[in-house]
Symmetry: C2
Subunit: 256 residues, 2 copies
DNA sequence: TAGTGGTCTAGACCACGGA
DNA sequence: CCGTGGTCTAGACCACTAT
């Protein structure tokens, strides 16, 4: 077992890491962990891959494997062809609080922003029709947005709204207003029940492009259906989050 | 666009693969997708990596990247050094139904089994103490189990129970009984509120070993705290699921 | 245009699994 | 024991980003 000191020596050598008896693989992984543990960067960019290769005396493939590992752990992330970055702390997302995005983000001392990618009418496909309890092919509103936290694009959302519930809603500024606020104040519709479906996957091509994520980056999918005070499904949305951006929370009475 | 049938043919040479203008990356990814789409295997093992290399005329590294992608998508999974397998359909896990594991699994026509890895007493660390509202260092029961669906190890759970709530619970057969059933019938404690914390990460070394997962495989972490009818936290658990094994669902009234 | 990450080739040795 | 996946080396070309 080579107990050599595999230290990144930028200027002053970060000494005192025995690195002996590294049991099994990892090797470089711990190494990179240490890289982050030591300077504890804020949310900055890592050195370029070629630079890290030299620093750690390793290969592109090996380095890349390690970076992908750390990405899976949620410790770093990448922007497509732009580089690797240290992940900021996860936003706590209380599924049942039903806070507007902006409020949720700001209550955690972060900065929120929203971008509307598209807003229009489409015919509901089978999935959407089933969720909303309407006939396939019915025209619904579709709104696609990207949301940022502290400038970082973390969420791609696609909403489908029953047109008969929210006539003319596209005329509002959907980048500035919370949809649930519009529901309540402009349409007298209150969300009185929500139903979720969560799974961990990767971004599809569209979401990846919108978030500037590499295709194949891990993503958290959240599908939500909102029901109004009459138990009618009024809208649904498909959210794809950078998986390292959130930690979901939830507190409720079980239905037993 | 090459609409040719990209079929893996074992003996016959892998001819007729134009490979022209494959738009962007993927290349092999689509190829492997097709591999699965065509025969639509049940939950069987994929050919060995070296065999696939030949079949698809590619390299180990490239092949491996592709497999890891499919793993991240939740379409295949691996057992440590044993090979790659097609992922079975996800189990729907209703967070608020609070069904015992066995019931949940069997209600979906699957077969459940449980293995107790360890059961004993430990001193509560800071995290556990905070969750349970007890003093750090208090002695609690700890139960570690592995759960299977259709024989596949999918879940590593570690429970921490307040000893004053469940005296002598370790004497029951914890592999056969549901904990919540024991709570109710043996200790007259009913779970009347649950609080969750969900995040997507990778397995730690212990969980990976217990599930025979490769270290670094993606995992869904679910932390739960159970409160009894008096609002007292009586136990908590840390679940680590193979991320492709579940789809979480949830339906409730928001707390607005 | 220079440098970056994304993708890929063609090998190698090791530790562990299963027969 | 052989075959498997796990890890690693040492390069290469391309598409895109940033300047």
């Amino acid at each position: 077992m080579p107990s050599s000191s595999l230290e990144p020596q930028s200027d002053a050598a970060s000494s005192a890491t025995p690195d002996t008896d590294v049991p099994v693989a990892g090797l470089k992984a711990r190494l990179l962990n240490h890289l982050e543990a030591a300077p504890l960067r804020a949310s900055q960019r890592l050195p370029s891959e070629r630079e890290m290769i030299e620093r750690f005396a390793t290969t592109r493939v090996t380095l890349r494997d390690t970076l992908l590992q750390l990405e899976a752990e949620g410790r770093i992330y990448r922007e497509n062809r732009r580089g690797w970055f240290v992940s900021p702390p996860r936003l706590r997302y209380d599924l049942l609080a039903c806070l507007p995005f902006r409020d949720m983000v700001e209550s955690q001392q972060r900065v929120a922003s929203t971008e509307v990618l598209a807003a229009g009418e489409v015919a509901a496909n089978a999935v959407i029709a089933r969720r909303l309890g309407i006939a396939e092919g019915s025209v619904v509103y579709r709104i696609t947005r990207v949301r940022r936290i502290d400038g970082r694009r973390v969420l791609h959302v696609c909403h489908h709204l029953r047109r008969d519930c929210f006539p003319g809603i596209l005329d509002f500024d959907l980048g500035a207003h919370s949809l649930t606020d519009l529901y309540r104040h402009e349409y007298a519709i209150r969300v009185s029940r929500v139903s979720f479906e969560l799974a961990s996957t990767v971004f599809d091509a569209e979401a990846a492009a919108a978030l500037n994520a590499a295709q194949g980056s891990p993503a958290q999918r959240i599908t939500r259906i909102n029901f109004d005070q009459n138990g009618r499904a009024v809208d649904c949305d498909d959210e794809h989050w950078r998986h390292d951006a959130i930690e979901l929370t939830l507190s409720a009475a079980p239905q037993s």
